[in-house]
Each structure stands twice: as C-alpha cells, then as structure tokens.
C-alpha cells in the first residue's frame, strides 16, 4: 500500500508538470499583459522596459523553468495588476472558496446519500418518484440560473438572505472565516446550495443506482434469510457495498466543486479565488491565472489520491499485501 501511494505521488507530480506547461503556454495567446498595464499613453521604450522587468523577453522554456522554480517554493511571482505577490493574494482569497466548497460538498454528500438510499429502498413509492423527477431539474438547470433563481426568491422577494458577498468575517490571523458570524453563516447558504445542487443530484442518482444493484445480490438475500433487521441489511450490508463507486464520483465532484466555484462566485460576488481568476482574465494577469490553475490541479490530484486510498479502507479485497488464505 505504501508502494502504491508513492507510485501515485510520482504520477501526480507528472500530471502537475503537464498541467503547468499547458497552462503556462496557453497564456502566451490570451493577450499581451503589457498592453493592459500601460494603457494608451505609452512609448516603445516603456513597453520594452516592462517586458524586460517581467521577464517576457526571455525564450519560452526559460520562462517556464523560472515559473516552475518559483512554484515549487510557493512563489508565483507578482500580480501584474495589483503589484503584490500572487501567493499572498491567493492565500487571502482561498479561505472564502474553501469554506464555500466545504459547505456545498457537505450538503451534497449528506442529502445526496440520504436521498439516494431513500429512493432506492422505497423505489416505487410516490415520494421517491417525486424526488427522482425533481432531481432531473437539478441535473439539467445550469448553475448560474439556479443561483439567479435563488437570489430572486430568497433575497429579492422574501428578503431572508443576502444576495452577494460573504457577510462579516472573523480574522484568525491566517484564515478569515465567515463561519463565526451570523451574517457570514446566512451569506453562505444560497451560494452553497447553488454550487452543491448539481453534485447532490448526481450523488443521489449514483447512490440509488448502486444501491438497487447491491440489493439484488445474493449476500443481501442471504442477509435477509439470516433474519437480520431491515436496518442492518440496508445500512450495514448494502450501503457499505455501494460506497466504492460513490466515493469515486464524490471525489471527482469535490474537485469540480472547487473548480466550478468560478460561476457561483461570479453570480454571488463571493470574494474567493474563482472571482479572482475571472478578474485576472479580464486584465491578462498571467501570474494569477497560472497560480490558480496550478492550485486547482493540485487539489484535483490530491483528492484523487485520497479517493484511491479510501478504496483500501473500504474494500478488503484490495489489500493484497495481507496474508492470503
């Protein structure tokens, strides 16, 4: 298992290098940062000076190498627009995104798994059928539309919740959290639902499909024949067996929650890294864009790694290094 983990780490590093290369080379085509930095009134000498200052005069491999050199140390350079270190800007913005992603992932998993089990066990009941039909809405409506609808209902019409921003935050020194204030907690509800709704319906549908599959197996029949209670059969025996594929999908989804937070953050003006990225695109702020993409890929890769390790925890058949019978 340790060998497996180490092997996966190496694979992850290669993936990150490739992502870095793709991201970095792509930005050579998105526009000239010097243009947006200097504005209309500029001389050729100014442009040349800024180019050299930013290192843009050097050949591409050198630029990439320098970028990697810095990235390993957590240094992604200076933001062209804000003139501050990128790592500092991201560190300020990251807590907002992570808190949002965390809340929506928790909502998605709790409701997704619970509703999935419910619709599988009561598969012909009217409640289950209603939930299944409604879940189609969650799968098919685009995120921004859900966000706008929620804002319209709960912020504009009912006036219960705020439609933008994080509310009041408490500074813990290295982390600014919205969890400790009432307005912060209220502010996170709508964006978290918006962001998590699609994942929730997806998790629910997968849990349901897997559960129906497992409920047909012989060991479930045998568990019933042994007289175990419904609860022990459904939750003890069936649920655990549905978890392996569910964890795969959930893991992937948590990655996309963080990545797709861009849209939700834009709709709700949530001051996280997604919004930062959108603004960076507008100003061709390459260091921020590159750092953001690297950050997202690091998260994807590490979530995948954790998912692979979770398989071992759940399914004993994968633990091959144990003594065989």
């Amino acid at each position: 298992m340790l060998a497996f983990a180490i092997r996966r780490m190496f694979q992850s590093i290669i993936v990150l290098l490739v992502v870095g290369l793709v991201a970095f080379s792509m930005f050579n085509f998105v526009g000239d940062p010097v243009d947006s930095m200097l504005g209309q009134e500029r001389t050729d000498a100014d442009v040349e000076r800024v180019r050299i200052q930013l290192g843009l005069d050097q050949p591409f491999p050198v630029q990439y190498y320098k970028f990697l050199q810095g990235a390993v140390k957590g240094d992604f350079g200076i933001s062209y627009r804000q003139g501050r270190p990128v790592s500092q800007i991201i560190a300020e913005r990251l807590p907002a995104t992570l808190e949002l992603a965390f809340v929506s992932a928790v909502l998605a998993i709790i409701f997704g798994v619970a509703l999935g089990i419910f619709t599988a066990i009561r598969r012909n009941g009217w409640a289950a059928n209603t939930i299944m039909s409604l879940s189609l809405i969650g799968v098919s409506l685009p995120t921004f539309l859900i966000g706008i609808l929620l804002i319209y209902i709960f912020a504009v019409e009912l006036g219960w919740l705020s439609s933008f921003g994080r509310g009041d935050v408490v500074d813990l020194g290295w982390w600014r959290t919205g969890f400790l204030t009432k307005s912060g907690l209220l502010a996170i509800i709508l964006p978290a639902i918006t962001l998590g709704l699609y994942q929730m319906t997806l998790i629910m549908r997968i849990v349901r499909a897997e559960m129906l599959e497992v409920l047909r197996t012989d060991y479930i029949k045998f568990a019933r024949a042994r007289g175990l209670s419904k609860r022990a059969v459904n939750f003890g025996h069936a649920l655990k067996n549905t978890m392996v594929p569910v964890i795969t999908v959930t893991g992937m989804q948590i990655g996309s929650i963080i990545a797709f937070a861009i849209i939700t953050e834009t709709v709700f003006q949530w001051p996280g890294v997604g919004l930062l990225f959108i603004n960076a695109i507008r100003f061709v702020d390459i260091p921020i864009m590159a750092a953001y993409l690297m950050l997202i890929s690091v998260m994807f890769v590490s979530i995948n790694l954790i998912v692979d390790l979770l398989y071992f925890a759940i399914d004993p058949r994968l633990r091959l290094d144990k003594t065989k019978g």
Partner: protein, 329 residues
C-alpha cells in the same frame, strides 16, 4: 415419521404481468416432519426455488403468494407481517443459497457476519457470541477457527465458504433449513463433503432440511422423502427409496432412466423429448401431456389429483381406478 413441522397446502405463487397472472407454483402441497430431509427435484423453472422462497417469505416482488397456506410448527406463516416473519427467519427457518461465492458480504470479516447473526437471534454479549462463532466454525470443519474467524470471505475457497454459509444458517439454531441447490456451484469432489456435513449437523440438532436440487445423486444419498416437481406442480412425492427404485409418474420414470447406471449393461441413456412448457403456455389438462409417452384422453381434459399408490402419491390418471378399468376393457 414423527411430528409435522411444516405443512404446505395448495400453495400458489404468481407473478402479475401485463398479460395477466402467471402461476409459477400451482397448488403445491407437502409436509415436512421434524428432523426429516425432504428432497425436491425438478428442472430449472419447475418452481422449486420459488416454493422455498415463499416459505421463508423472501419472494422477490412482483412475485407473491396467490393462495394456499403455509403452516409452520402449528402457526400459519404465509400471512405474517414483515417484522413477524423476520423474527422467524434465521431463528426458526434458515436458508442456504446456491452460490457460496456470492452469499457472503465481501466487505465484512466472516466473524463479523457470524456474530451479527448470533446476536440477532440469541441474547449474547460480544465475547460469548465470538466464542459461539468459533465453535460453529469448528463444527462445520473450518481448520484453525480462532484465527480464520478474522478472515474475509475472499480468503476462503468455494467449499470453505459454503461451510461458513452453513455455519451462518445454523447460527440461530433453526428447526428447518431450506437448502436451495447448496452444492451446484461447487466442485464435484467438494459436493459430497458439504452434503454429508449438512446432513450430519442437522441430524445432531434434529433440524429438518428441505433440499432443493436437480442432482438426483444428492437426493438419493440424503433425502428421507422426495418430491418431483414439474412446471409448478408436484408430479410425485414419496419415500426416496421407492421413488428411485419404482417411479410411477411418467415424468419421474423419465427422470430416473436419464441417470446413468454404474452397474449393469451400458445402455443408451433415455431422454425425455421436448422441454418444460413456458409459464404463459401451459397446456390444458396435465402439463406434462405433450411430452408423455403414455398420454390418453383424460390427460387433455383435467390435471389428475395426487393419487395414493403404495407409499407414494402420484398426480397421474394412469393410477386412477376408474380409468384403469376403462383402459382394461
């Protein structure tokens, strides 16, 4: 034999479909005494497994009991609530399925599955239950049960897994075990061991067995009495010895003569022509009539009731006194 443990009367299992009700088990009646082994043979689709599933209350919907009575130990059980039925399952009636490779939950140690079953039925604390689980594993012939109890199902061979399954079935100390083709998925060399193990364990405990199989050899060795099922009905039921030596229903005759004899001349094996009718296309009268060599007029009109002939009961007009007289003329 002695006291009657299970009595089934005119049991009907049916499946509602778009084109009406299909009867998969059609008015089956039999009894099992305490400690007796009743073998049930028949082709696939004859309704053997469904009869077993109906008794233990585990018919897969939309299948359902469409009529008749199941009386277990003097109590009617076919109309019990889910919860009442559950308290019987495992504790009074246990069931073993065909494939030991898939009968155990792959994610739990066998000890966990045993202890869980024991604690569901007997009031024991964890330590007592574990001791009991080790005893059970020992009784079913698992070597080194103290260490093997912590192994996962995939660490056992097929035969060993079926032994674990038997241990699980015995954990609640049931009065009746329904064994649905318990050896079909196993190697031939292991089959005999498992069957004799099951038989000796049940004999010690006085547990009755309803042994569902299509393996005549298994029945011949194990069962006190046997029933032959054909397209959802009992064709013949009686003492195993009588039935094998002297089958009466033309279908049983066909079944017995399709078994190769070890002694004596090597003859061509006889096979019964045709195949069992589909549920939506059961012929009028006796359902065996299209394949029967001795078919005559009444067979096309009505199905024969079970007629007592010697020690057996046979559902065939050939043994009806009146038709006998008509034929003799």
């Amino acid at each position: 034999m002695s006291e009657i443990l299970l009595k089934i009367k005119d049991l009907i299992v049916e499946f509602p479909t778009r084109r009406g009700l299909l009867r998969a088990v059609d008015k089956v009646s039999f009894e099992i005494s305490k400690g007796e082994v009743l073998g049930i043979v028949g082709e696939s689709g004859a309704g053997k497994s469904l009869t077993g599933a109906a008794i233990i209350g585990l018919l897969e919907p939309p299948g359902r009991i469409g009529g008749g009575e199941i009386i277990f130990d003097g109590q009617r059980i076919d109309n019990l609530s889910d919860e009442e039925m559950r308290s019987l399952r495992g504790k009074r009636i246990a069931m073993i399925f065909q494939d030991p490779l898939t009968s155990l939950n792959p994610l739990y140690r066998i000890g966990e599955q045993l202890i869980e079953t024991i604690q569901t039925h007997l009031s024991m604390d964890n330590k007592q239950a574990r001791t009991r689980a080790i005893e059970l594993l020992d009784e079913v012939g698992i070597p080194a049960p103290e260490t093997r109890i912590d192994a996962y199902p995939h660490q056992f061979s097929g035969g060993m897994r079926q032994r674990v399954v038997i241990a699980l079935a015995l954990a609640g100390e049931p009065d009746l075990i329904i064994a649905d083709e318990p050896t079909t998925a196993l190697d031939v060399s292991v089959q005999a061991q498992i069957i004799s193990l099951l038989k000796s364990l049940c004999k010690e405990r006085g547990t009755a067995i309803m042994l569902i199989t299509h393996d005549m050899g298994v029945i011949a060795e194990t069962a006190d009495r046997m029933a032959v099922m054909y397209s959802g009905q009992i064709a013949e039921i009686g003492k195993t010895y009588d039935l094998i030596r002297n089958p009466k229903h033309p279908y049983s005759v066909g079944l017995m003569s399709s078994i190769p004899a070890i002694k004596g001349d090597v003859k061509r094996l006889v096979q019964i022509p045709g195949s069992m009718p589909r549920l939506n296309n059961i012929p009028k009268g006796c359902s065996f009539n299209p394949r029967c060599e001795k078919v005559f007029e009444p067979c096309y009109v009505k199905r024969s009731p079970l007629i007592e002939v010697g020690n057996s009961s046979v559902a065939c007009w050939l043994y009806d006194e009146e038709y006998k007289r008509v034929k003799a003329k």
